[in-house]
Amino acid sequence: MTTKELIENLNLKPLSKFDHREIKGVFVSDMLSDVMAGAKSGDIWVTVQTHKSVIPAANLVDVSAVIITSNKQVPQDTIELASKHSIALLWTELPTFEFVGKLYALGLMTT
């Protein structure tokens, strides 16, 4: 599945400018340290964290997208940094637990 299909299937709101990519898996965490230690390249990263340091972490791990859940307000500097790095920053109003259910129903697996 590509980020384009994910956005369409789950009605996600794209916040940044980016190129679409193939999604390899999924990693759910709000802890940058957990993401750095555990997420894999191509994963979509599901989190409620909106601080801009999410972007360098996402970049280091090479995620295919960062999905902000729970109807959060995402600061402009986070969006800009994401666009600068061409990282897909997507948004949903669903809380993490419910959103995971939707990802699973699409057939997404952890790597």
Binding site: F27, S29, M31, V48, T96, V100, L106
Partner: protein, 265 residues
């Protein structure tokens, strides 16, 4: 769902709260951000988190959660256990990561996730992702069939193939009827794994003296009364065999019977 169910589904270790596993929880909250837990968490919930720190327990306590599950095999090292004990918060730890933990609970809760039955791609390995247990009372013909109705409903909600569901439902119903007709009481245990559905029907009762005979079509030990109700045609076990992929029947006279059925997905 009960905390015990969550513990089983997540293969979790109980760190604190062995005596509180029977508590029924209403909501699941997955987060590592404690300010969110306080702002949006609801009482009577379980917190799934990777934050292995006393603050997670404190936040759960303030938000009136019943328990905390630490994911990714995390453990606390800062006096959290004592705090959890004092405040009566159940503390569990699972090796699963957040995604798998949420998926397993969501599936088991079966209101959360509706699957497209063609895309049954489970992220977990050959483990039980969903399990339910129902009790059956012997000689209770009024409620006979309730367990199999529930089993059918569970399988329907997770979107399995209708033909498969029908086979499981029929087999479970026939087994349940055998318990009602011939035993004192029994249980129907349903387990769903990525590869197969397992139904174990175990009872306490007179047992089956001759299994070979019992498997024969037309052979029945049903009473006149039962036959008058339309049961006991002797097709039960043969029918179960026909509808299941694997069948294992063991019995001890005077003790009871155990029937294990497997249906490959």
């Amino acid at each position: 769902m009960k905390i015990k169910n969550i513990k089983d589904i997540l293969d979790a270790e109980v760190i604190v709260g062995d005596d509180k596993l029977d508590i029924d929880v209403k909501h699941i909250y997955a987060s590592d951000l404690m300010s969110d837990v306080l702002a949006f968490g609801e009482p009577n919930s379980i917190l799934l988190t990777g934050l292995a720190s006393q603050q997670a327990i404190i936040s759960a306590h303030m938000a009136e959660f019943d328990g905390v599950v630490l994911i990714r095999g995390k453990k606390t090292k800062d006096g959290s256990e004592k705090f959890a004990r004092d405040k009566q918060i159940v503390l569990l730890s699972t090796q699963l990561d957040m995604y798998d933990a949420c998926v397993r609970i969501g599936l088991a809760d079966n209101k959360q996730i509706i699957l497209n039955s063609e895309k049954l791609a489970f992220p977990v390995k050959n483990n039980i992702i969903l399990s339910h247990e129902f009790s059956v009372d012997g000689n209770d013909f009024t409620n006979a069939g309730m367990a199999s109705t529930e089993v059918k409903a569970v399988l329907k909600k997770i979107g399995l193939d209708p033909v498969l569901i029908r086979r499981v439902a029929i087999s479970t119903y026939e087994s349940e009827m055998n318990v009602v007709m011939h035993a004192k009481r029994g249980t129907v245990k349903l387990s769903v794994t990525p590869k197969f559905i397992q139904v174990i029907i175990e009872d306490v009762g007179k047992g089956i003296p001759d299994i070979k005979m019992a498997m024969q079509e037309g052979y029945t030990t049903a009473t006149e009364e039962m036959r008058a109700m339309g049961f006991g045609s002797g097709m039960g076990l043969p029918n179960i065999k026909k509808n299941s992929d694997e069948l294992d029947l063991s019995s001890e006279v005077g003790k009871g019977t155990c029937l294990r059925l497997k249906f490959f997905i």
